[in-house]
């Protein structure tokens, strides 16, 4: 009885709640939209800022200003013909440093370095090795074969930075036995892949230190 009496009230309450819910929802949407519009406005303002800052930067760093700074302070001049190197070969020829024992130790390894990129060159390197006097090749660790090997690989080594080369040089004492063409490219590949890894930087510096120690030991 009482329930029947309150039925309209319940209806009104239900409809009221539903309407309120709908209204709240629409209010929510409106608020979101307003926020979105605000964000868009901020984006536009930021883009305008970027544009004006770019303009300011471009104006302050205009070429005439740079020219003036160059004339007053930097005195940079255009590179001349001799400073452009066309190939690795000319780059190697460009290297006029005094060769040290340590450099020679590095050079041995460098012949292996271009092998993964250009298998043909690996073949050439092998041929050069074969052309070297036969008795000189066999005593792997002795310093005697080094000069014979130096000539050809020297050319290739210079294009590479000495830092990545060093750990490879360290490994060399174990490398000569595997000199037969078969498995070497893969070995080198894994090595260079590891070298490219940024995480091995500590490894490299440690290796460089030991290597330096080894060189003085020689």
């Amino acid at each position: 009885m009482i329930a029947r009496g309150f039925k309209p009230v319940a209806w009104v309450a239900a409809i009221g709640t539903a309407a309120l819910g709908c209204y709240m929802l629409s209010l929510q949407v409106a608020a979101e939209r307003a926020e979105l519009a605000g964000l868009e406005r901020r984006i536009v303002a930021a883009q305008q800022d970027i544009r004006s800052l770019q303009t300011e930067l471009g104006t302050r760093g205009r070429l005439q200003q740079l020219e003036q700074w160059n004339a007053e302070v930097l005195a940079l001049s255009a590179p001349v013909a001799g400073q452009f190197l066309e190939s690795n070969l000319s780059l190697a020829r460009f290297d006029v440093r005094q060769r040290t024992v340590a450099d020679q130790a590095e050079m041995r390894m460098a012949a292996a370095e271009p092998a993964p990129a250009q298998p043909v060159q690996a073949g050439q390197a092998a041929i050069r090795l074969a052309a070297a006097p036969a008795p000189a090749v066999s005593p792997a660790a002795s310093p005697a074969p080094a000069p014979a090997l130096v000539e050809a690989p020297l050319i290739r080594r210079a294009s590479l930075q000495s830092a990545p080369a060093q750990p490879a040089a360290l490994r060399l004492p174990s490398a000569p036995p595997r000199r037969s063409a078969g498995d070497r490219p893969t070995a080198v590949q894994t090595r260079s892949a590891r070298l490219l890894d940024a995480g091995t930087l500590d490894d490299l510096s440690a290796a460089a230190q030991t290597e330096r120690g080894g060189a003085t030991g020689d």
Binding site: E40, T55, T59, R62, L63, Q64, A78, P79, F84
Partner: protein
């Protein structure tokens, strides 16, 4: 409503009470429905507005990003002209409440470009609004605002800014106070820059800012050190006709074009017509090769004695005193032998040769600032002979650059353009010289730099080839002045595969110790070309290489080692 019901009752006092009541109910219901209907209409309308009105305002918000005038950029996208929001300071004279005389004195202290009296006249004028300063710096705006006068107003207005200041000012031109282009590319591109649909997209010119800067720097340094009246430098892509750099000294700042020296606004590259002297000789020789007048490079032309025409005699600065081969004519720049070639060509063929490279028309370029050439009205024998070595026909430096492009690029003449040309979209142009003639000319131009007058134009490794030209300037009183020259060096590089023409012209250089007070092109214009090529060659993608060069071995034996 009550009255309505009462009236009904009164009009039907004796009728059925029930039916009267029903009628009243019906009427009440009708009124209620009316109210409900109106309310529903309002609710629906509100709902409609709620749902369908786009309140994000994206359409209005996107607009500020589109500038009122499109940007102009160089071929690599570096901004050359932009529109920024600048401050302007204005005044409503009628709304001023402070002491006008004192305000005028204070304004003069802030903006010394106007006198106190001028400011006082402005502040007490009858007009509704006056600009005190346009494109004002924020500091100035703050200072004027600190005066606390309500009559001053500060607005943000779109202003054209040229971030590179004087760089390429002659090409860009400038805009007036209403933002309309009045000169240069601003004027040419007016429609494109203001078109609503395209304003957001910058317009790319063919200019390379870095090359333009190098050319302007080297040119103005040379003009200053040689005390020249002016100068111009052009770098032109030989395969597309794109102008990569075009400088004219003295320069002006397009940000304040009105305040610059009027003579600086003059673009010598397209407006100045000059008799460009010996730089015409390669054109004459190429035309003679084309026409079959020169049958072989070994053919000898008499340069032993001056050629008399009427009262004048055509002579050489350094007389060779013998018959010379064709490469020798160019290497030693013999006027006599060139005049003989022109004589053999005859009037009709010489005219045709010059018309072929457009010397009878204004320069082919977008700019409105270009002059008509001085094309001789009657082609007498004297005109024909002197035109062979660049006197009597006056053209702009841009004409000559286009002609040299045709000489070296395989023989195709193309109009010069300041708009960037997409790869593969180069205009077809017209064939002026055969491939063989072009190759021959490349060899001989290279030999001029290797063995002849253009030695100072060499840039090691860049395989430069070119021709010097020192013309005597027409003096104010008429006749030629020996001391006042127009010195030009027109070059192309790399000669084994030409990519760019570089032309430098110095107007009336005076010389200095370094040039031994010589004003010839070899001492004035050629070193500028050499420096510009050394600086910009790598930027343009040409790597200097000492191991490479054009093969001139078949022509070298034809040039006798001269004492000069």
């Amino acid at each position: 409503m009550a009255t309505l019901a009462a009236q009904i009752e009164r009009t039907a006092p004796c009728g059925d009470y029930r039916s009267g009541l029903t009628l009243t109910y019906h009427r009440l219901m009708l009124v209620m429905l009316l109210f409900a209907g109106v309310t529903a209409l309002i609710v629906l309308r509100l709902g409609y507005l709620q749902v369908f009105t786009d309140r994000s305002g994206a359409a209005q918000l996107a607009n500020p990003l589109i500038p009122p005038r499109a940007d102009i950029v160089d071929r690599n996208g570096v901004a050359l002209a932009r529109t920024i929001d600048a401050w302007s300071v204005g005044v409503h004279p009628s709304r001023i409440i402070g002491d006008r005389a004192e305000l005028a004195a204070r304004l003069n202290a802030l903006m010394p470009e106007r006198s106190v009296a001028q400011f006082r006249a402005m502040l007490s004028s009858d007009s509704n609004y006056l600009y005190l300063a346009r494109r004002a710096l924020p500091e100035l705006v703050a200072a004027v605002n600190a005066l606390g006068e309500p009559g001053f107003v500060f607005n943000r207005e779109p202003e054209r800014l040229y971030p590179q200041t004087a760089l390429a000012g002659h090409i860009l031109g400038w805009t007036d106070f209403d933002g309309r282009g009045v000169a240069g590319m601003e004027r040419v591109l007016e429609g494109r820059l203001t078109e609503p649909g395209l304003r957001g997209e910058p317009v790319a010119l063919s200019i390379d800012t870095r090359v333009q800067a190098a050319m302007e720097a080297e040119l103005s340094a040379a003009v200053t050190s040689l005390s020249a009246e002016g100068g111009t430098g052009i770098v032109l892509d030989v395969h597309t006709g794109e102008i990569v750099a075009m400088a004219s000294a003295p320069t002006f700042n397009p940000n304040a074009a009105g305040r610059s020296d009027p003579s600086a606004l003059y673009n010598r590259a397209t407006m100045g017509v000059y008799e460009l002297g010996s730089t015409f000789k390669p054109i004459t020789v190429a035309a003679a090769l084309e026409a079959g007048v020169i049958t072989s490079p070994a053919q000898r032309w008499d340069a032993g004695s001056p050629v008399p025409i009427g009262r004048f005699r055509i002579s050489d600065d350094h007389p060779l005193g013998r018959a010379v081969t064709v490469p020798e004519i160019l290497v030693h720049s013999s006027n006599i032998a060139t005049a003989r070639i022109a004589d053999a060509m005859g009037s009709a063929r010489m005219q045709a040769a010059f018309r072929a490279v457009g010397f009878d028309e204004p320069a082919h370029v977008e700019l409105n600032e270009r002059a008509r050439t001085l094309w001789p009205r009657d082609w007498s024998r004297a005109t024909v002979l002197t035109s062979g070595f660049g006197h009597g026909v006056a053209v702009t430096p841009l004409h000559l650059a286009s002609a040299y492009a045709a000489l070296v690029n395989g023989g195709i003449w193309r109009p010069a353009t300041l708009m960037r040309v997409e790869p593969g979209r180069a205009p077809r142009g017209r064939r002026v010289y055969s491939e063989a003639t072009s190759l021959r000319m490349r060899q001989m131009l290279r030999m001029i730099v290797q063995h002849g007058t253009g030695r100072r134009g060499e840039a090691p490794g860049f395989r430069v080839g070119g021709k010097t030209g020192t013309a005597e300037k027409v003096a104010t009183g008429g006749g030629y002045s020996r001391r006042v020259n127009v010195s030009t060096f027109a070059a192309a590089f790399p000669m084994d595969q030409p990519r760019y023409v570089v032309l430098v012209m110095m107007d009336a250089p005076r010389g200095n110790e370094e040039t031994h007070f010589l004003t010839t092109a070899a001492w004035t214009a050629a070193p500028v070309v050499s420096r510009v090529i050394s600086r910009t060659g790598p930027l343009l993608g040409i790597i200097p290489d000492s191991a490479r060069d054009i093969d001139t071995s078949e022509l070298v034996p034809l040039v006798a080692a001269a004492g000069h």
